[in-house]
């Protein structure tokens, strides 16, 4: 019922009363009639109040909805954006055997902030700034690092050009490693020690989508700089910090993702001088990596193999001319909250020597997603080194990304 209608009613009622009095000579209304009329007026007023309240509510609702919509719209339209991820780890591992110590520590392993800006629809900047192990500086365990900082240009619908400091297109975790996206408190040791994730270089990369689901990346980048007796790829990362550019590198990747749930990829890295010309007996290096990720409903399987071939007499004498590893990781996501995994991994940074220097690890554990991008993790790991002792125990982690 509208206000207008209610007012009309009131006017009619007033006229009726007035009319009644003017016609007093004819018949004055009885008290009962006046009482009825008053009751009707009361009812009308009550309806008016209810309508008024409803209208007030609608206006308030519109104000709240508009406010929310504007805030969400600003987020959609914002050209600059930021985010981040982090992970806190508790390790309680016991060492057994010669030269293997216990690991009992708590560490805010990674605190990362992203910052990006879209200059135009086809031109953007992206960066990742990281503090590792919470405290950096002389005598402290941490490092402050620029892990990504690049400009990306969409040349056309299927071609992107990336220039700057970017993550190398290799492995499963090198480019996607937010803690809520993988199982296990610590990252797997094969990608860490063989690939070596997280691995970034400076250079230019071309990404071309050849067909739906078939993508190729080729890049010309800065290279590694291994030093004498330290021939692990991980030790050779220069992190684009006054990095030697005597020997540049190139990398290519082919990735197939045409079938939902399946990713197949292979990468090839080449560098003419693995030691940037400063170590006698150190030559060219080639790395090959291939992996598969298969997801079907709640089941997922990750499998990865990576290998290095490094030339040079000194490298060979140390057994580091061949370095390789692989891992298999089946997992099952019970629901939105819970998932469990098992992993077998093995790697050797001195596979070229005559003694057994292989490292093996078996893990089992679970993730509990408190929110889609906030995760608590638990795992048990049993690691054995062929040339040393064993280590086993538990890891607990808390991670997030936004």
């Amino acid at each position: 019922m509208s206000i207008k209608k209610s007012l009309k009613g009131l006017v009619a009622l007033a006229l009726a009363i007035a009319g009644t009095f003017s016609a007093n000579a004819v018949a004055a209304p009885s008290n009962a009639e006046i009482f009825d009329m008053m009751q009707e007026m009361k009812k009308e007023l009550k309806n008016l109040k209810a309508e008024n309240n409803a209208l007030k509510g609608t206006v308030e609702e519109v104000v709240v909805s508009t406010d929310e919509a504007i805030k969400a719209q600003i987020k959609l339209a914002n050209k600059s954006h930021w985010g981040g991820y982090g992970e806190l780890h508790y390790n309680n591992l016991e060492g057994q055997g010669p030269g293997v110590s216990d690991t009992k520590q708590i560490d805010f392993h990674r605190f990362v902030l992203y910052f990006g800006h879209e200059f135009r629809d086809d031109l953007r900047f992206f960066s990742e700034f990281e503090l590792e192990h919470s405290l950096s500086g002389n005598g402290h365990p941490g490092e402050v690092e620029l892990e990504q900082g690049y400009i990306q240009y969409d040349y056309n619908e299927t071609t992107q050009i990336t220039g700057g400091l970017f993550l190398m297109p290799i492995g499963i975790m090198n480019e996607t490693h937010e803690p809520d996206t993988f199982y296990g408190v610590e990252r797997n040791t094969v990608e860490k020690n063989i690939i070596p994730a997280t691995w970034w270089e400076a250079g230019v990369m071309l990404t071309k989508e050849l067909k739906p689901g078939l993508t190729v990346d080729v890049a010309l980048t800065s290279g590694l700089e291994a030093t004498a007796d330290k021939y692990k790829p991980r030790d050779g990362r220069q992190k684009v910090a006054n990095a030697s550019a005597r020997s540049l590198a190139s990398i290519g990747r082919v990735k197939y993702t045409a079938i939902p749930g399946l990713e197949l990829a292979a990468s090839l890295f080449m560098q003419t001088d693995y030691c940037q010309g400063v170590v006698v007996g150190c030559g060219s290096a080639t790395a090959f990596e291939t992996h598969a990720v298969y997801k079907k409903d709640k089941f997922q399987l990750r499998a990865l193999y990576a290998a290095w071939n490094i030339d040079g007499d000194d490298v060979k004498a140390k057994g580091a001319d061949k370095q390789n590893g692989f891992y298999l990781e089946p997992s099952y996501r019970f629901n939105d909250k819970w998932g469990a995994f098992a992993r077998y991994e093995t790697y050797d940074n001195k596979d070229g020597n005559s003694t057994d220097t292989e490292v093996e690890a078996r893990s089992i554990g679970f993730n509990y997603w408190i929110d889609p991008t906030v995760v608590a993790k638990f795992d048990y790991v049993d690691q054995s080194k062929a040339d040393a002792g064993d280590k086993d125990g538990i890891n607990i982690g808390l991670g997030y990304s936004f």
Partner: protein, 176 residues
Amino acid sequence: MMLKKYSLLIIATLLLVTVSQLFARGVYQTDKDFISEAFLNKPPENSRIMLGGDVRKRVTSLLGHPYGGLIIKYWEKEGRTAWILKEIGKTEPITFGIIIKNSKIEKIKVLEFRESRGWEVKYPAFTKQYNGVSLEGDKLDKNIDGVSGATLSLWAMNGVSKVALYLSQHLSNKSK
């Protein structure tokens, strides 16, 4: 020497750039073309729905955050509704076109994609998983197999699918 060393890489790069077609990356189909195609070149006039009160609350719950707009345009003809909805993947908005018929997704398509990763969700092989999917409570009634590295794009697509299914259902209930 240097040129010789990287000549293959340089040639391959130049070749790839040269043979690339000259289309603006990111926009795969305009909103207008999608709607026109959805209704066989005879699109109806658009209608509007205001996201207020309970409708807004439900949309917020389905997406996990408020939708970036107060009014959503839609097109309705012969029991089919078509929606153009935007949702952020990792950092950039992705534009989706969705057609609903009989409370089920008839088709979903990525119309515009600006993220630097996760574009695999645009492939028909991926989007066809949504065909025939309906809303069950606050979830889709079918598991969608994701693409490694494109999880956030997948979540965005799931989110807008749920919103389109809900709004279509809401309109249908209203007209009864």
